[in-house]
Amino acid sequence: MDFMQVTKIERASGDIKWNYQYYDGNPDKAIRKVRNYKVPGFLHLDPERRNKVFLLGQFNQRASVIKFSKRSMEVDWKVELSHPDSEGIPADSPDGPMAEIYSYVQPEGTNYIYACGYAYKGYDAGNEPKELEQKKYAAMFKMDNDGNIKFYYRFGDSNDNTD
């Protein structure tokens, strides 16, 4: 089992101020296998609140944003882009609005983050991640500093012509 580690290092001395780790502790092995994908893609200092940092990327095989404190990595909130339970998507499916954040920007003077990445759609149980490459869509969203999604779009019909 690997973990997503987050570390604060003092520049001058190289001393580690703190180090925390995260993992998916779901007791269901099948769910844990599918969800055990994580990408700590970007760390972004909050320009509005000097004591906060965003971590953007992927967690539980879903695009995720975590906002935390510089002092202790106490988490303010964590967002994972997933389907509502009401849609009935199986818990071991990577299908969702966005699976990973590839890039982001927070325009100067705004409280909004714009992020883009990809989404899986049409997942069949048992498929390995390599096969999922054929079922990717481009996706983007706008989010405010409090983790509220303001809009979301998905583009394209994937390169799987059976969809």
Binding site: M1, F3, T7, I9, R11, G14, Y23, P40, L55, K70
Partner: protein, 62 residues
């Protein structure tokens, strides 16, 4: 590693490790530098990576 933009020379270097163990740290683009920490005014790097279950990571600078 900090690099002088004028000539590309390395001006500061920090690495993290777990003792003498030679295990893989899987990194992506997650690194940020905060030159003025709100608590003590010092400069800090923040980084995130994939590694085994461990909180015994060490830092060093050069």
């Amino acid at each position: 590693m900090e690099v002088d933009p004028a000539d590309g020379s390395a001006t500061h270097f920090v690495q993290i490790s777990k003792g003498e163990e030679n295990k893989v740290f899987t990194t992506f683009g997650a690194v940020a530098y905060d030159k003025d920490d709100p608590d003590d005014g010092k400069g800090y790097y923040y980084t995130s990576f994939i590694y085994e279950d461990s909180t015994l990571i060490e830092g060093a600078t050069a």
